[in-house]
């Protein structure tokens, strides 16, 4: 069996698929922690893209941006989980549908 | 963990738990790791000793008292026989009194060794445990030579003693005293001056002298709070009035002070034993005791300073039967244990085991 050599396109397809899974997770699941995790999946998809292009172009700038994405993801996780904990203390729920006090 | 708001967690410590010193059960309510409530559940070792005693004749009871505080059997014996002697107004020969003091103080050393070892083990210093047991072994050897038993001695009789000391025993006791005095500095090196040990024990389970009295603490646990209450000094029994010794007291009333008090008591016990050996009078070991022991009708309470605190016996005799009408023990462990819920309040789970160790309880005595 011979496999075609791996090109950046393969990585882009992988990243697209992962991104789509993330979208499905965000839209379908009601558990806010899972939604946050789906967002992490999407961020990872983006990172794969960045790394793939960095490899293709022989340029490390893509990796630098991936590192920035990771930093932002860390900040997002910390604040997001803080909000979840604070919310859970008051409402005893993790369901996003019940988080509607700001809705009009 | 106080960062996160969690509801209270109920944690059941024991009755099978490595550091509840037997079968104590402590139900803790925790906020994170902080204790907000504590219920002490006892009774897992209840054998009905008090009731049993009401169906044995007076000499047989000595053997049952062994089984209460089984790490300080000789002190239990002493408390009981003195109570009966008081009830019968018996005169005990001075030689017997002196030997009783020696036995009781050796017993105190053995009991404190066990306490030190387990207490240190609870806080994680495993070497001290084995060192302390090494010294306790020497005391047990001495007891074995005296009465043949290593744990439950049955070492006293109403009106005196069953046996005189074996020849050469006093020399061995003296040698042991020298050994002990050399070994205690080793413990001090491992614990007293150890930064971690001090951090773990200072400020833990602080109780003021007044509170300690109000809650009924006795023994080293009370003296750690700065109350110089020692029955050996305050209401001398046996031959204690004839010996010169100090009552060490603490200042802060925390676990560290209770530790220091008990450590100092090692030295004081050695001091008493040496004086007793030096002044050991000649003479009989049993006084004038009737063949059939039947105390006159009446009741009495008599307390001694057991290693763990005030050990009191309340005995009622109806003057007719061969056994006590009512037999009641005031065990030091039981009364000291009452302080636990109060002491652990606001401390961490790790401190709970330190405090159980610091109160020095024996469940055989708590449950009886």
């Amino acid at each position: 069996m011979t496999l075609t050599p791996i090109t950046p396109y393969h990585y882009l397809v992988l990243s697209a698929a992962l991104f789509s899974i993330g979208i499905v997770g965000v839209m379908v699941r009601r558990n806010i922690i899972v939604i946050l995790m789906s967002i992490e999946l999407m961020l990872n998809a983006v990172n794969i893209n960045l790394a793939a292009f960095s490899y293709q172009l022989h340029n490390a700038i893509g990796q630098v941006f991936a590192i920035f994405v990771i930093a932002v993801a860390a900040a997002e996780a910390a604040v997001g989980l803080g909000i979840i904990l604070a919310f859970y203390r008051n409402k005893e729920t993790l369901n996003v549908d019940e988080m509607n006090t700001m809705r009009w | 963990m106080s960062l996160f708001d969690t509801t209270e967690l109920t944690l059941n410590m024991g009755p099978q738990h490595p550091s509840t010193h037997g079968v104590l059960r402590v139900v803790l309510r925790l906020d994170g790791e902080r204790v907000v409530g504590c219920d002490v559940v006892i009774g897992y070792l209840h054998r009905g000793i008090e009731k049993l005693c009401e169906h044995r004749d007076w000499q047989q009871i000595v053997l049952l008292t062994d089984r209460m505080d089984y790490v300080a059997a000789a002190s239990n014996n002493l408390g009981y026989v003195e109570t009966v002697e008081k009830l019968m107004s018996l005169e005990v020969p001075r030689r017997a009194q002196y030997i009783r003091v020696i036995l009781a103080e050796l017993q105190r050393v053995a009991s404190h060794c066990l306490w030190l070892g387990t207490h240190a083990m609870d806080i994680g210093a495993m070497t001290v445990f084995l060192y302390a047991f090494r010294e306790r072994e020497l005391v047990l050897d001495l007891f074995e030579e005296y009465c043949g038993a290593r744990l439950t001695y049955n070492a006293m009789r109403i009106g005196g003693l069953p046996l005189d000391i074996p020849s050469g025993w006093d020399r061995k006791v003296r040698a042991f005293c020298d050994v002990l005095e050399q070994k205690i500095p080793e413990y001090e090196e491992l614990l007293t001056h150890n930064r971690i040990w001090r951090d773990r024990t200072t400020g833990i389970g602080v109780i003021s002298g007044a509170d300690a009295l109000a809650i009924g603490l006795t023994g080293p646990a009370l003296r750690g709070s700065g109350v110089a209450h020692d029955i050996r000094k305050d209401e001398p029994y046996a031959a204690y009035a004839e010996f010169d010794f100090d009552v060490p007291i603490g200042t802060a009333g925390d676990t560290y002070d209770r530790y220091l008090v008990r450590l100092e008591e090692f030295y004081q016990s050695v001091r008493i034993i040496r004086q007793a050996l030096d002044g050991l009078p000649e003479g009989p070991i049993v006084g004038k005791v009737p063949r059939l022991i039947k105390p006159p009708a009446g009741e009495t309470y008599h307390a001694i300073e057991a290693p763990k605190g005030e050990l009191g016996y309340f005995i009622v005799s109806d003057g007719k039967s061969n056994s006590p009408y009512r037999f009641r023990v005031r065990p030091p462990s039981f009364c000291n244990l009452q302080a636990l819920p109060r002491l652990v309040q606001g401390h961490l789970v790790s401190d709970v085991v330190a405090l159980i160790g610091s109160l020095d309880i024996v469940l055989g005595e708590v449950d009886r």
Binding site: - | G124, R134, V349
Partner: protein, 339 residues
Amino acid sequence: MTSTYLLPLLKIVVILNAVLVSVTFMTLLERKVIAWVQVRLGPMRVGPYGTLQPIADAIKLLLKEDITPVRADKWVFTIAPIVSMVPALIAFAVIPFDREASIFGYRVPLFVADINVGLLYLVSITSIGVYGIILAGYASNSKFPLLAGLRASAQLISYEIAVTMMLVSMVVMSGTLSMVGIVDAQYNAHVWYAFVQPVAFVILFIGGLAETNRAPFDLPEAEQELTGGFHTEYSGMRFALFFLAEYANMIVVSAVATTLFLGGWLRPFPNVAWLGVLDFVPGWIWFLLKTFVFVYVFLWIRATLPRYRYDQLMRLGWKVLIPLGIANLIVTATLKVLL
């Protein structure tokens, strides 16, 4: 083909086996050392002076019933010991035992891989190890393991920061992330880094004690408090895996400390010519000797010190070690730029 795949595979096999065997016998060593400290004999019955005790233990653990509590999360309960064991083992991939050794006439480098992010690899691997403990605490569905799991994760994460600070200091000193490169840098600097960076050395050692859950920081498995912590509900081989992981981690920390601070495979005073006789001893023996000294100190400390309390542990980590680590890093970097 032979050199690219076979040789590394062979080395992996040898190192893994060596690690597992030495870990097994470390249990005996620990029991013996602590016994001697405590004026006891330790295991004496199995084999001469109890030397075969680990084999008896292993047989016992293998034959024991592997209990899974009814209410446990079965999959996670099974995975947790594996998750804690694997990082401990793969960490050995970057540890250089010697630059080269001649085996049957071949010159073979005595390390599996010298990757250019070796030190970071180690840090990231140890950060995975914490999962085993958290998951064990969670999956047991029991309160003592849960408390232990929370304690452990908080402890590991806090001390990891201090340790990582120290490693960064060492990277600044040597200018490389490669483990082999760091040893070479010490050779070129004519001094072991333990003497240049004593603060880093001490902090790394304390942090290492905490990260391997060893006394006096063995809170997650404090038997007297939490009845065995996160392995309360484990039995048989799964329990053994936790145990082996702990010992393997001890060896990893010792080996890393040796590499970073005691010059790895270098003999003492590698630049003093008249001590050349010491070259007679191969480098990997020096490495193992130095590692052994660390392991011994680990055991010695366990026999001597009482246990810290949870809040004191956190205070030590956050208020002493981390600020010291940051200060050390700043001073190191400043001096490096100035000199």
